[in-house]
């Protein structure tokens, strides 16, 4: 687990747990449980879409269905064969697609984007595992690095994979996502976490195949506060983490223009993902994980309603 020695403290009265404090927890499972349980306990009035094996709905009997699942009481009232469906039967594949390109190793406030993404992924996987979804993960940079196929027993493997993930190489969305789209034959819930340093059109073109395959796609755009605010003051040479290229920059007069560009980038992604019915959430690593979980559960709610 990546450790960060930032000595900043949580804000007084903060409702949720600061990510920097979470970073001190050495076990991803414990971390995920801490976050998720605390999160659920605090949301007693929120709609609960937790995992259960309770009845979900009836559907018409078709040939081949197990006759043991026929609701005989309903047959008695309606004289038609209906089969009872339970939630436990609706568990699905949950795949975490984690970008581990070099740019994800950036962190200005004591926690890197990759660390934050791992926390987020672990929490989401924990949530999914609690509702009996099969969890898996794929880490990638310019190609697929690790692949953990979705399974009810792969939660620990997933945590282990996230724990060992290291951002070392240049990233490229197009090729690994294309490979993934060919891989996911079964409809899945795909959670893509990345910093999306690419042109919005290119990103969308790379993601589209996943979406068209019928997968439910939730996108988290992870950005560091420095990437959003560009709070530098001294003229310096800025080095691209992935390419190593250096450019001298005088930030004073440059920051405003930069903020304008990054805001434009986020807006463009928001618009384009929205157009293609993809849930998109921009996450600031300085904010608690809860907000991300809210986004995820909101998305699941929408999915359940649709379903």
């Amino acid at each position: 687990m990546q450790q960060h020695s930032a000595d900043a403290t949580a804000m007084p009265g903060a409702q949720f747990v600061d990510p920097k404090i979470l970073a001190r927890i050495g076990n991803l499972e414990l971390l995920a449980r801490t976050v998720v349980d605390g999160f659920i306990n605090g949301l007693h009035r929120a709609p609960y879409f937790g995992a259960s094996i309770d009845f979900a709905e009836h559907r018409g009997y078709v040939s081949g269905d197990d006759i043991r699942r026929v609701d005989w009481r309903l047959f008695a009232r309606t004289d038609r064969f209906y089969v009872k469906q339970y939630e436990a039967d609706t568990n699905t594949n949950f795949s975490l697609l984690l970008d581990i390109s070099k740019s994800m190793s950036f962190g200005s406030k004591g926690i890197t984007k990759l660390t934050y993404a791992c926390f987020l992924g672990a929490c989401l996987a924990y949530l999914a595992q609690r509702q009996r979804d099969r969890v898996g993960t794929i880490t990638f940079d310019s190609e697929i690095v690790n692949y953990v196929p979705p399974s009810a027993k792969h939660f620990n493997v997933l945590l282990h994979t996230l724990d060992r993930a290291k951002a070392e190489r240049r990233g490229d969305l197009t090729r690994p996502l294309r490979d993934m789209s060919e891989h996911f034959k079964r409809r899945s819930i795909l959670v893509l976490i990345s910093d999306f340093y690419e042109d919005p059109d290119v990103i969308l073109e790379a993601i589209k195949p996943l979406r068209f395959a019928g997968n439910d796609l939730i996108v988290f755009h992870v950005l560091d506060p420095a990437e959003l605010d560009f709070g530098y003051s001294d003229a310096s040479s800025f080095e691209d983490l992935e390419s190593g290229e250096q450019i001298p920059v005088v930030p004073d007069s440059f920051a405003a223009e930069y903020r304008k560009l990054i805001r434009g980038h986020i807006d463009a992604l928001t618009t384009k993902f929205s157009e293609h019915r993809i849930d998109y959430t921009m996450i600031n690593t300085a904010e608690p994980l809860d907000r991300s979980l809210f986004s995820y559960l909101s998305a699941r709610e929408r999915m359940m309603r649709v379903r």
């Binding site: 560091d224 003229a235 040479s237 983490l241």
Partner: protein, 681 residues
């Protein structure tokens, strides 16, 4: 403000360093890793680079420190202060050397030279002293050391160009002598001249002491054209008992361009005889011959004039000519041998300068009258003449006549007349076996001086088979000896006359000398020496000295009228310092009496205006090279020594260096403070 070593200012370019650091280097030292420069790259690079300079005060401090250190190394000084200091120094000894030789009459050289002299005098401070020296061949203190500028300027105004030649040695020695006597702190000499190369041989032993300054001021014209007449030659012919003269003048063109149609005129006794046109190539000479004229008086004065140019003095050439005077000789021979004077007569018949008028008389027929108006008497293998003739001969010699005794078997000399013979004659010595040669010749004597140079007469080829021995006395001078040491030629001076004794005859009975090439010139030299013949000089050069009494062969007061009309009474040496024709006549003689005339011309070397590099001369005299001052250079400008002195006294470099280092120290403190907040600057 000026700088002693201005080349150091080039180091001022280092001021670009702090600016470079402020603009460029500071942006590259700090590297910030950023996830992606995707958006940074979209902003034009030029707009983010070299955007502005922060910490202006720091930059200015660094630049000022660098500039001050560079300026300190360039050794600055205040020129005005230097001039004032030089003027206020007070103890300056200045020697103004003004060349007034004939060449300074070229064009406006003289006016420019006087202007330069006035300027040098004008530079004198209140306590400065100056000596004004006029020089040409010699140097003269025209105005002794004084602080009175008015007198010095008056002396310069009254100076005139003379006709003498240029020599820098005496002038510089005089200047060195004046400066060495001075107690002044600064001792300077200003040499104003056209710097003729002919005036400096390089062998002059002139050395200025340490600390003396010699400032050359050249008024030379870069490409001076000049036509000069360096000499004339004469051709004499006789016609109807009178002598006729042909004058040929050499014309020299000292310029780099050829000249044509140069009118060359011959004037004789004030009358123009002929004018011819001459064409002369660049840096070459031509000859012009004029029509003959008759020399009908004892002294004929003539002048040749050629063209006009900026230097008229050398366009005129004066000369005097006289009818040639033959040297009269009496050859006394033995009546028994008729041909004994054959070789001698033939030898004396050769030549025109002078013409020898020879009379041959047997010894038995010699009378006292034969010695009248003779210049030389030759006793050729004869005994001393009889009593009357012998006495006359003695008086002739004592009166300035010349006697040549060629001793042979017939020669006998009475004891009573022993004083007329340089020694005592002895018996004959027979050297018929191999023959004797002249083993020793006194080349310092006028007779043998002509044969001094190599291949100028081969006496070793002559063989003397018989000679008379001669025992010379202490007052006799041996001029030549045979190879066995016996006297061959000896001389004795008797009264005003000269006697030379040869111990062999002048015919071929004793030797084969008459058959050798040296015979004729030897006989001519003997006769001219004994006859005290001097070829008349048609002209002399300015600066030469003539002994008037020797010229006229009489001791008396003489009145000399110079070409400028001055009248000088002289009995001794007379220095010829003017160009033209001097007239000399006995004091008290009537004006109608024909005077002797001496033609005087300027030194031909003065016509060569080729100049020497003043720096070369200064380096030779002072032992160090100094910048060459030109004619336009003002002597009032501060000299190099003044500049160094002023810079040393002002010591501005010290303050600049100190301030620069202080600024650097402050800059270090300030930059450290700032860097604590910004990690680097």
């Amino acid at each position: 403000m000026a700088f002693l070593t201005p080349l150091f200012l080039l180091a001022g370019a280092t001021i670009a360093l702090p600016i470079f650091v402020h603009l460029i280097q500071r942006e590259r030292k700090r590297v910030i890793q950023f996830p992606s420069l995707m958006f940074v790259q979209r902003i034009p690079y030029q707009s983010v680079r070299r955007r502005r300079i922060r910490h202006w005060a720091l930059l200015l401090m660094r630049c000022a420190a660098l500039l001050m250190i560079v300026a300190a190394f360039a050794r600055p000084f205040l020129r005005r202060a230097a001039v004032i200091a030089a003027a206020a120094g007070g103890s300056r000894e200045l020697v103004v050397l003004l060349d007034h030789s004939a060449s300074m009459g070229f064009g406006d050289h003289w006016q420019r030279a006087r202007d330069a002299a006035h300027a040098a005098i004008g530079s004198l401070g209140a306590n400065d002293r100056a000596t004004f020296v006029l020089f040409s061949r010699n140097a003269e203190e025209n105005m002794r050391a004084t602080t009175d500028r008015a007198r010095l300027n008056a002396a310069v105004d009254s100076a005139k160009v003379d006709a003498d030649s240029t020599r820098y040695g005496p002038a510089l020695k005089l200047a060195e002598s004046i400066l060495s006597r001075s107690q002044a702190r600064r001792r300077e000499a200003v040499l104003i001249s056209d710097f003729q190369r002919a005036g400096w041989s390089g062998s002059e032993d002139v050395h200025f002491g340490e600390g003396y300054t010699l400032t050359p001021v050249s008024v030379a014209s870069p490409a001076a054209n000049n036509i000069a007449i360096p000499s004339v030659t004469f051709g004499r012919t006789s016609f109807s008992g009178q002598e006729r003269l042909t004058v040929s003048a050499g014309i020299a063109n000292k310029g780099n361009a050829p000249v044509s149609d140069v009118p060359v005129t011959l004037e004789v006794e004030g009358h123009q005889i002929q004018t011819q046109q001459a064409k002369i190539g660049a840096n070459s000479t031509a000859s012009v011959s004029f029509t003959q004229f008759t020399v009908d008086r004892p002294i004929v004065k003539g002048t040749v004039r050629a063209g006009t140019d900026p230097m008229p003095a050398d366009n005129v050439f004066h000369f005097t000519v006289s009818p040639s005077a033959p040297v009269s000789l009496l050859v006394v021979t033995n009546p028994d041998s008729r041909d004994s004077a054959l070789y001698l007569s033939q030898a004396l018949a050769v030549g025109t300068t002078p013409v020898f008028q020879t009379d041959v008389v047997p010894v038995t027929r010699v009378t006292p009258a034969n010695f009248e108006k003779r210049a030389v008497v030759i006793l050729n293998d004869v005994s001393f003449p009889s009593a009357a003739a012998g006495g006359t001969l003695k008086k002739f010699v004592e009166g300035g006549g010349g006697l040549l005794v060629a001793a042979g078997d017939h020669t006998s000399w009475p004891q009573s007349e022993a004083e007329l013979l340089p020694g005592t004659l002895g018996p004959s010595v027979d050297r018929t076996a191999r023959g004797a040669t002249l083993g020793f010749r006194d080349y310092s004597h006028a007779v043998f001086e002509l044969f001094k140079a190599p291949r100028s007469g081969d006496f070793s080829a002559a063989r003397i088979y018989r000679y008379r021995t001669l025992m010379t006395g202490p007052n006799d001078r041996v001029l030549a000896r045979f190879d066995d040491g016996a006297v061959a030629v000896a001389e004795r001076k008797v009264g005003a006359g000269r006697v030379i004794a040869l111990t062999a005859t002048l015919d071929d009975s004793y030797s084969d000398l008459p058959l050798k090439p040296v015979y004729v010139p030897l006989v001519h030299q003997l006769v001219k020496y004994l006859g005290q013949f001097e070829s008349p000089r048609s002209w002399m050069t300015v600066g030469q000295v003539v002994d008037v009494s020797a010229l006229t062969k009489a001791r008396a007061n003489w009145l000399v009228v110079t070409p400028s009309g001055k009248r000088v009474t002289s009995t001794g040496p007379l220095e010829l310092d003017e160009q033209g024709i001097y007239e000399v006549r006995p004091a008290g003689a009537s004006e109608s009496a024909p005077p002797r005339a001496i033609a005087v011309n300027i030194d031909p070397a003065e016509s060569d205006l080729t100049s020497i590099d003043p720096a070369e001369l200064v380096a030779a005299v002072t032992g160090r090279a100094t910048p060459t001052a030109t004619a336009s250079a003002s002597p009032t400008e501060t000299s190099q020594a003044d500049v160094k002195d002023a810079e040393k006294r002002q010591a501005l470099w010290w303050y600049l260096l100190l301030t620069g280092l202080l600024l650097l120290a402050v800059e270090t403190v300030v930059s450290n403070r700032l860097s604590q907040g910004e990690r680097f600057l």
